[in-house]
């Protein structure tokens, strides 16, 4: 009981001390991070920002009660939800590795961003009915999301599963969710922290609660700084959790916490920022667990309603407070703009001493910020009030040497802080000390009257003769701006007008004739961690001396400004170049530049030279017109470059994003590429170079983030883009996109081949058909001639004539009249033969007339034994027929048949719609008359060649039948 009481008492005392300490920390030193307010769209202004997220493409996503916005550094793009819920009350945003953006809302719905629109994510299991508070992805590819009231869910691509208090979750009310490097999912709940994992699809939960040492079970925030987890709680501040053993440890600053709920945490290299509801941001030094800052409302800065803090991938810290959004470098950049004792305007020199105190001089005098108390104290100097201290140096014994402008050199005792002045009496003939350098017991001064070498081996406060000043004046080379002793103990002198000189083992070397060094006015000198000597010049930029030659770095190489006032070299191969516009950080190994300017709070750099110094190997102090800046130099600036993406490809300025399409048709030759290099600190400084290989010959400069190529001819292209903040693209990464515009189909090989083949085929067919037609015509002609010849021959057949004449003789005796008639008919018959033999077709009626005549002639010979029956009906009456066909068939019938009283011959000619048929009984003569057989064949050929169809011959029954197709048209 007693023990408890004392511990309580000690806690109270401790808390009081903490409070006092905190007060001192915030009040005295006046150190504040720089917050840049981002201009938000009006819609967000009316609501508050609920979540911040940077996706894999470095776009910032801002969720608010009035919908989702994408921010690229300069513009906000609004993404409306579906009609069901508009605007979305976004509560969390996350991007999975497949580049799908997931959006959770306060109502429990989940949306996926597809293309340009948010689509409701629907599964069989249905969506939660309470707010989605966070997303996380595990190593097995499950997407986890936490809810405020239903525990957590995980989606394995098919089904959604739930883990809630029934499964052992510490509570169903979850605030955030975070994966660790083992693939486990940490969930911050009202009942503690649950570390969830799936082992062979079985839920496994490890709890971190009061019982495990968690000071407060209500855990509002969780963050993983790479090695350890930090949890922010409702009442008990914050704590550290070892992700291996799950041990909880409570840092000093969190003991007896009175600052309210810790709603959000971000981490830096060795610090944490905690956001509280009433007390703004509290900064914690993680190395010792103490509070090292507390940032509240000042001026326009409203930090009283911080809803979310977020650390992006480019070293920026985003703070959403109420309806405001701030960008900051976090604890990495602190400004000292006010102090209890000293004005912070117009800093002329600065020094970080070996004990951790900060010395600075301004218009009012020389001050020291004590490391322990953080109080600012003035150093009393035996000087006129109007004298400026323009150089500061701490020797190896802790004496601080302050060079004045016109009044000599002061030495300040490390313990008593008493000052002693050295002037011409001590041998210092020029009292304008611009720069001090030293090593061991040797010190060098740069003055407007040459350089001084000082031996400070004796106690400076000992007596008049103890510090000896030896003047090194080179002829006419009186103004020396800076002096530097390198790692090889060479002393470098930066002069006004004579370039740079170097003292090496008592021998002075002048580089004023070196053709590589154009400028003769050297302001600053330093040495990088690889031994390269760096110079800044009045107007030619920066030079690097590698022992042999000078290499120049100017604007084209990535330098932001030529008005360089100071140089620093850190331990990580970086060169810091302080200039009028801010600070360039150069990685000397790969010549990459990083620029920090007004966008992150570095502005108002003094025109005074060398108002900068290092704290340790990686913190820079800069003096400005507005105060001091303390900057944690990033360890790897190559990571801190604009993130370039080609994010849209459109055709004919259409809305559809065709990214992923690499083949375009001949008609899609009006192609636009949209790209963006995201750099939130200074988006306006990003410029691009683009090139379409296969089209452009060289890179083209542009500041637009879109380019359109119209009327691209078919071919292979690669679009390339690179971005730079400095116009120096040599080290910029190139993003490229290959595409092919296809040949129009009429230019493709296969089309040409097919065309050639078909044309050849057509020509061949034409020739072939023509040849056939010609052959046919020839054949017809030949057949016609043959027919004519045959008919003529048959009619001039002596047999026929003999028969006719015999008949005629017998008739003449019997009846003269009939004989005359007979001869007339005979002559008509022959005339008709002559008339018709040239023609292809004659009307059937004429043929009938002809056969009437012919039959008359034959009837006279055979009398009643021969008979002809003609029965032509219908359309056949007006039809046509090749001349002499019927006559020849009748003649054939008569020729080949027995004609007698016992066996009379009846030749029938009749018609139907299709055929004209000639039929006679089959009564063959015993002695066959020689038959050429040409007659029938000839008829058949003529019908076939003229295209009138096939004639049919049937002698199978007791009749001989010939069927001739009816020809209706003369054509």
């Amino acid at each position: 009981m007693n023990r408890n009481k004392t511990s309580n008492l000690s806690l109270v005392i401790c808390a009081c001390m903490m409070f006092a300490f905190g007060f001192l920390a915030s009040g005295v030193s006046g150190q504040v991070p720089y917050f840049r307010s981002m201009k938000l769209p009006d819609e967000i202004h009316q609501t508050s920002i609920t979540c911040l997220y940077q996706d894999n493409d470095y776009y910032m996503w801002i969720g608010s009660g009035k919908g989702l916005y994408q921010f690229d550094g300069s513009k906000f793009v609004y993404f409306p939800g579906t009609a069901k819920e508009a605007p979305l009350q976004v509560s969390s945003v996350f991007m999975t590795n497949d580049h799908i953006l997931w959006v959770g809302t306060r109502k429990g719905d989940i949306y996926q961003l597809k293309g340009d629109s948010l689509q409701l994510f629907e599964t069989e299991e249905g969506n939660p009915k309470v707010a989605i508070t966070g997303f996380a992805a595990d190593k097995q590819g499950n997407l986890w999301f936490s809810t405020y009231g239903e525990g957590v869910y995980y989606f394995n691509g098919t089904h959604i599963y739930n883990i809630n208090s029934d499964d052992g979750l510490t509570d169903n009310y979850c605030y955030t969710i975070l994966p660790d490097d083992q693939g486990r999912i940490w969930v911050a709940t009202d009942g503690g922290i649950s570390v969830c994992s799936l082992i062979n699809n079985k839920k496994s939960i490890r709890k971190i609660t009061n019982a495990e040492g968690l000071p407060d079970n209500i855990v509002l925030s969780l963050i993983n700084d790479g090695t350890t987890f930090w949890a922010g709680m409702q009442d008990a501040g914050f704590c550290e959790i070892d992700p291996r053993k799950l041990n909880v440890s409570v840092p000093k600053a969190s003991v007896n916490w009175k600052q309210g709920p810790v709603k959000s945490i971000v981490t830096g290299s060795n610090w944490l920022w905690l956001s509280t509801e009433q007390n703004g941001i509290i900064s914690i030094q993680t190395t010792n667990g103490t509070q090292n800052g507390n940032y509240k409302n000042t001026g326009n800065l409203n930090l009283s309603r911080i809803s979310h803090m977020y650390a992006d991938k480019q070293g920026n810290y985003w703070v959403a407070s109420g309806n405001q959004l701030f960008l900051s470098l976090g604890q990495n950049l602190l400004q000292y703009v006010e102090s209890d004792r000293a004005g912070m305007k117009n800093i002329h020199s600065i020094l970080y001493d070996s004990k951790g105190n900060v010395w600075f001089s301004n218009d009012e005098g020389l001050f020291i910020i004590d490391k322990q108390t953080r109080k600012t104290n003035e150093i009393n100097l035996p000087l006129k009030k109007s004298t400026f201290i323009i150089s500061l140096y701490e020797d190896d014994k802790g004496y601080v040497w302050a060079g004045t402008f016109g009044d000599g050199l002061c030495c300040i005792h490390p313990d008593s802080r008493k000052a002693k002045l050295f002037t011409e009496k001590e041998g210092l003939s020029n009292k304008n000390i611009l720069s001090i350098a030293g090593k061991g017991r040797q010190m060098w001064l740069a003055t407007l009257g040459g350089a001084y070498k000082c031996d400070i081996s004796a106690d400076p406060f000992g007596g008049r003769s103890h510090v000896a000043f030896e003047n090194y004046v080179d002829q006419g080379n009186n103004y020396i701006y800076s002096i530097f002793i390198d790692s090889r103990n060479r002393v470098w002198f930066g002069t006004d007008g004579k370039g740079i000189s170097m003292l090496d083992n008592g021998k002075i070397i002048h580089f004023d004739k070196d053709p590589g060094l154009k400028s003769k006015i050297i302001y600053s000198i330093t040495e990088d961690s690889d031994g390269g000597i760096w110079l800044s010049t009045a107007n030619e930029g920066l030079y690097c001396y590698n022992g042999k030659s000078f290499r120049n770095f100017a604007l084209d190489d990535g330098l932001s400004d030529l008005q360089i006032t100071g140089l620093l070299a850190d331990k990580n191969h970086h060169l810091l170049i302080v200039h009028n516009n801010g600070l360039d950080i150069l990685d000397t190994r790969n010549n990459t530049f990083l620029f920090y300017g007004a966008g992150v709070g570095i502005s108002g750099i003094n025109p005074d030279l060398n108002v900068c110094c290092l704290e340790g190997g990686d913190i820079a102090w800069l003096g400005t017109q507005n105060g001091l800046i303390r900057l944690q130099i990033p360890s790897d600036i190559e990571q801190l470059q604009p993130s370039l993406q080609i994010n849209k490809i459109s055709v004919f300025l259409g809305k559809e994003n065709l990214i992923g399409t690499h083949e375009f048709s001949y008609g899609q030759n009006h192609i636009s590429f949209h790209f963006n290099a995201l750099w939130y600190i200074a988006p306006e400084q990003v410029s691009y170079q683009i090139r379409l290989t296969g089209y452009d010959i060289d890179w083209l400069d542009t500041r637009n983030n879109m380019v359109t190529y119209s009327n691209l001819p078919p071919g292979e292209y690669t679009f390339e883009v690179r971005a730079s903040m400095k116009g120096n693209f040599d080290r910029s990464a190139v993003k490229s996109y290959s595409l092919r515009i296809k040949e129009p189909f009429w230019k493709t090989n296969w089309f040409i081949i097919i065309s050639v083949i078909s044309i050849a085929l057509l020509i061949y067919l034409f020739i072939h058909m023509r040849e056939t037609a010609l052959k046919k015509r020839d054949a017809i002609y030949r057949e016609k001639i043959l027919f004519q010849f045959q008919t003529l021959r048959s009619q001039v057949n002596p047999h026929f004539l003999f028969n006719s004449f015999s008949t005629l003789i017998s008739i003449i005796d019997e009846d003269k009249e009939i004989a005359i008639d007979y001869v007339e008919k005979l002559s008509i018959f022959f005339r008709n033969i002559l008339e018709y033999h040239e023609r292809d077709l004659i009307p059937l009626s004429e043929e009938i007339k002809l056969i009437d005549t012919y039959f008359y002639l034959q009837k006279k010979r055979y009398g009643d034994n021969l008979d002809l029956e003609i029965d032509i009906r219908g359309n056949a009456k007006t039809s046509f027929i090749p001349p002499m066909v019927l006559q020849m068939l009748i003649e054939n019938a008569i020729k080949h048949s027995v004609i007698s009283a016992e066996k009379p011959l009846l030749v029938r000619i009749y018609s139907d719609e299709k055929y004209i048929t000639i039929s006679n009984q089959l009564q063959r003569k015993k002695d066959k008359e020689p038959s050429t057989g040409i007659g029938i064949t000839n008829i058949r050929n003529r019908y076939a060649l003229l295209g009138f169809g096939e004639i049919e011959i049937d002698s199978s029954s007791d009749h001989f039948i010939v069927k001739l197709p009816v020809i209706y048209s003369e054509k």
Partner: protein, 184 residues
């Protein structure tokens, strides 16, 4: 004194029992269908032997159906395959789903609700945790519940011979319609 306590205890037991009874709803009518819509063959069957019970206070539930009660197959052969090859009804007689309702619903109030039932689905002897979305309608003390969900055959180790694979979909769609009333 002793007697009195005894009576009191009896009364209390009866009362609590009565109270407990009030929270239990039992199914009075039910239908469960399943549909396997494979390219080659559509298998469909249903059963009205689904029994369910809900504790509206604790939001817990349990459903059970006899696998052999499914009827209405296209052919007796199909039914035989279903019983013997796939469900192995001799070894695994019942399919069971039991668990807890995620949402807080006032079951005494008439209205339409969408709730999600989280529980263990046991088919073919293999238990899988599932969340099943259920549309419910409460009207005059009767609860009408409708749900559609899919069952992945591989989740429940239901093996299908390679040749038959074309005939059975990997996913089987299950439709449930069930009515509950307060048990007396």
């Amino acid at each position: 004194m002793k007697k009195q306590t005894y009576f009191l205890l009896c009364f209390l037991f009866a009362f609590t029992d009565l109270c407990a009874q009030q929270e239990i709803m039992r199914s009075r009518k039910s239908k469960i269908d399943f549909l396997s819509d494979a390219p080659l063959e559509l298998i469909k069957a249903s059963s009205d032997k689904l029994n369910g019970i809900i504790d509206t206070e604790k939001r817990t539930f349990a459903f059970k159906v006899s696998n052999a009660s499914f009827k209405g197959f296209n052919s007796p052969l199909q039914q035989e395959h279903f019983y013997e090859n796939y469900m192995e009804t001799n070894a695994y007689q019942y399919s069971v789903f039991e668990g807890k309702i995620i949402e807080q619903v006032d079951f005494s109030k008439d209205g339409n609700y969408t709730i999600r039932a989280k529980g263990k689905l046991n088919i073919h002897g293999i238990e899988q945790e599932r969340i099943i979305k259920v549309q419910i309608r409460i009207s005059k003390g009767v609860l009408y519940a409708n749900a559609v969900f899919t069952v992945l055959l591989q989740d429940h180790n239901i093996k299908i011979p390679k040749i038959v694979f074309q005939k059975i979909a990997e996913e089987v769609k299950v439709t449930v319609a069930i009515e509950f009333e307060r048990s007396r």
